[in-house]
């Protein structure tokens, strides 16, 4: 009698737990995102959204996470910070998402952060600036490299070549200005003095005046922090003026378009860039190679040319999903803790090791130093 009772209780318990498992399997994991898919920053938001959609589909086809399907809820901010706040509010209060992976631009991310922190929502940003993670905010993480890392990578390479006097020329855009500030700040740590600090307008068509001034300084190298047409014009103007100093560019020009525009003048130019650009050239022993090639091939088969920006979304999405997997729940505090515990996560941007004091988790070795040779990238050893 006693035994029968125990068995029936066990059976009942089993049934209950089965039922519980079933309901949780029926629940979807809601990933919220707000991106600048249209507007001036659409070159960021567009590949990011495509990446998220492509991989959410793939994860679901493969059975989801912990047997739960993933649902992507997306809003287009057009790069507008005010819209971003409205959409983040909607994601948190109305859609009740479990985690947010989004914010293409620094402006939209910074605007959303107070709300994310006060509503205790795990948030992985896809924007560049250092100010997002420094000082560390409890609920906010990010995946893209920062300008400071690019500057550090460049200065490290200069140091190896024995360069100590550098002329800086930068554009007037947000990316350019932030890069300039970081470069000026970091230079001293690497024993580098800036002997010139020139600038040009975003739509300027000729920088020979600034460069002629630089030519008359005792600079041993030129560093151009810029984005868009500016760096290509600077590159051409440098060669036009017959300046033979090494020219460094930032990761802002890390696309084939730059080589195409600057043509022969780009030969010998060095720049830091994410490994995605040179995925094929990486040695097979590189742990990132498989991830990079798989992302690149999948994206290119579906949408055309791959960009590093879409890669940031890949990193953000999988970091979030793996954290949910490890936490075995979508409890926000647990998911946050698991994101913070991310170690050895191989993404497109590098190998991430998060910690309570570092919510980016990338070292400067996540950047590769590239040199342009024969119209193509080559890795500087």
């Amino acid at each position: 009698m006693k035994i029968r009772k125990t068995v029936s209780m066990l059976a009942a318990g089993l049934l209950l737990s089965l039922a519980a498992a079933q309901t949780s399997a029926g629940d979807t994991i809601k990933v919220g995102t707000f991106l600048a898919v249209t507007g001036p920053a659409s070159f960021l938001g567009d590949p990011e959204l495509k990446t998220l959609q492509m991989y959410v589909e793939e994860v679901n086809a493969g059975g989801g996470v912990d047997g739960r399907q993933v649902e992507l809820i997306h809003y287009d901010t057009g790069g507008n910070a005010k819209e971003a706040v409205n959409f983040a509010k909607r994601l948190i209060q109305k859609d009740k998402v479990d985690v947010i992976v989004g914010g293409s631009t620094t402006g939209t991310t910074l605007a959303v952060m107070p709300l994310v922190e006060s509503s205790e929502m795990p948030f992985i940003s896809l924007a560049g600036a250092v100010s997002i993670i420094r000082p560390v905010k409890k609920w906010t993480f990010k995946t893209p490299h920062t300008d400071a890392m690019a500057a550090a990578k460049i200065f490290g390479d200069m140091q190896r070549r024995g360069i100590s006097k550098v002329a800086l020329i930068s554009g007037s855009g947000g990316f350019d200005k932030s890069g300039r500030a970081q470069s000026l700040e970091l230079a001293r740590q690497y024993g580098i003095t800036m002997v010139a600090d020139e600038s040009y307008g975003a739509k300027d068509t000729d920088m020979t005046a600034q460069l002629a001034k630089i030519r008359d300084t005792d600079a041993q190298a030129i560093l151009n922090f810029g984005f868009g047409t500016g760096p290509a014009i600077v590159t051409k103007n440098v060669r036009q003026l017959g300046i033979t100093l090494p020219l460094y560019q930032s990761h802002g020009v890390a696309s084939k378009k730059y080589i195409e525009l600057a043509g022969d003048a780009a030969e010998g130019v060095r720049l830091p860039a994410a490994a995605l650009l040179v995925a094929e050239q990486l040695p097979d022993s590189d742990p990132q190679k498989a991830v990079l090639l798989s992302y690149k091939n999948k994206f290119e088969a579906k949408y055309g040319d791959v960009s590093t920006f879409g890669g940031h979304a890949y990193d953000g999405l999988f970091m979030a999903l793996e954290a949910i997997d490890r936490a075995n729940s979508t409890d926000k505090a647990k998911v946050r803790d698991e994101i913070e515990r991310t170690t050895g996560f191989v993404g497109t941007g590098g190998i991430f090791n998060m910690s309570p004091t570092d919510h980016l988790g990338l070292g400067i070795n996540a950047f590769k130093m590239l040199e342009i040779k024969n119209g193509d990238w080559s890795i500087v050893q």
């Binding site: 307008g201 000729d206 020979t208 005046a209 600034q210 868009g228 060669r239 036009q240 003026l241």
Partner: protein, 292 residues
């Protein structure tokens, strides 16, 4: 030091020549119809983007592609006059300015849809080997820009002073009604003025594209700089516009080289404001009296 200044001057003249051509386009339309055409910069962009598109898609040689693009832009200019400006005749200056700003946004949008946000380059007309003058250098393309600008400016000068059509356009600008009374086909003259402006704009775009690259929004800043140059020289005075363009280019380049590159645009605009403050009609403009 001398070499450096020579370089600044050469740079200034090349950049200034572009501004001059854009400013000239502003002046011609303003002369003929009292309209400030803010889509002038878009003509520049369309000229460059059009020739790149024609030479890429159909594999036309660059010169033929350029001619096609110029013809296309002339049609765009005339269409702008016929379908947007002409129906609003008699509207206030502000209204027509709003119409042309609208047209410029529209043209930029069309270019964005057709060609996307990419930046495009164009091959240099005669190589990229720099020409050395002392320590200063300039590209063969810079000579093309300066030479092309000079030819176009002289052409415009000849057109207005020595041809019947040119004089008829000027007559329309002096007094539209009187011009009509003496048998000038005013609406045709307006088309000619817009067509000529579009021609200048598109040629300017093609000449500078190998140096500056181009994209769907390349016309915005050029339009603004050309407009400032036209004001600096005296609005409505074609030769004043040319002088204003060259002057603005020189000021910017010298300011960037000698004072501070960060403030070069500010210095340009401060000088513009000073000129307007002391001589509201511009450097070479005639003081005008408005009849009430």
């Amino acid at each position: 030091m001398f070499d450096q200044i020579l370089q600044f001057v050469l740079t200034g003249v090349t950049v200034g020549a572009t501004y001059a051509l854009v400013a000239l386009g502003f002046a011609i339309i303003y002369n003929a119809s009292d309209v400030v055409n803010f889509s002038q910069g878009e003509f520049v962009m369309l000229g460059a983007m059009g020739s790149i598109a024609f030479s890429a898609g159909n594999g036309l040689p660059l010169w033929l592609a350029a001619i096609c693009a110029v013809l296309l832009v002339i049609c765009v200019g005339m269409a702008l006059q016929r379908f947007a400006i002409a129906p609003a005749r008699g509207a206030s200056v502000v209204t027509t300015i709003i119409i042309t700003i609208g047209a410029s946004i529209f043209l930029r949008g069309v270019a964005l849809l057709l060609w996307g946000k990419d930046i495009f380059g164009m091959p240099h007309f005669s190589g990229e080997e720099p020409i050395k003058i002392g320590e200063a250098t300039l590209l063969p393309q810079n000579l093309w820009v300066m030479g092309g600008a000079s030819v176009l400016v002289l052409g415009v000068h000849y057109f207005f002073n020595h041809t019947t059509n040119g004089k008829a356009v000027l007559a329309c600008s002096c007094n539209r009604t009187a011009a009509q009374l003496v048998g000038i086909n005013v609406s045709r003259m307006m088309l000619i003025a817009y067509g000529l402006s579009a021609l200048l704009g598109s040629l300017a775009g093609i000449l500078v594209a190998p140096i500056t690259f181009t994209s769907y929004d390349a016309g915005v800043m050029l339009g603004l700089k050309g407009f400032s140059a036209a004001i600096l020289g005296g609005f409505g005075n074609p030769m004043g516009a040319v002088a204003g363009g060259l002057l603005l280019g020189l000021i910017e380049s010298l300011a960037a080289g000698l004072i501070s590159s960060g403030y070069k645009d500010a210095i340009g605009f401060v000088i513009l404001l000073l000129v307007l403050f002391f001589k509201p009609s511009g450097l070479f403009g005639k003081a005008s009296a408005e009849r009430v």
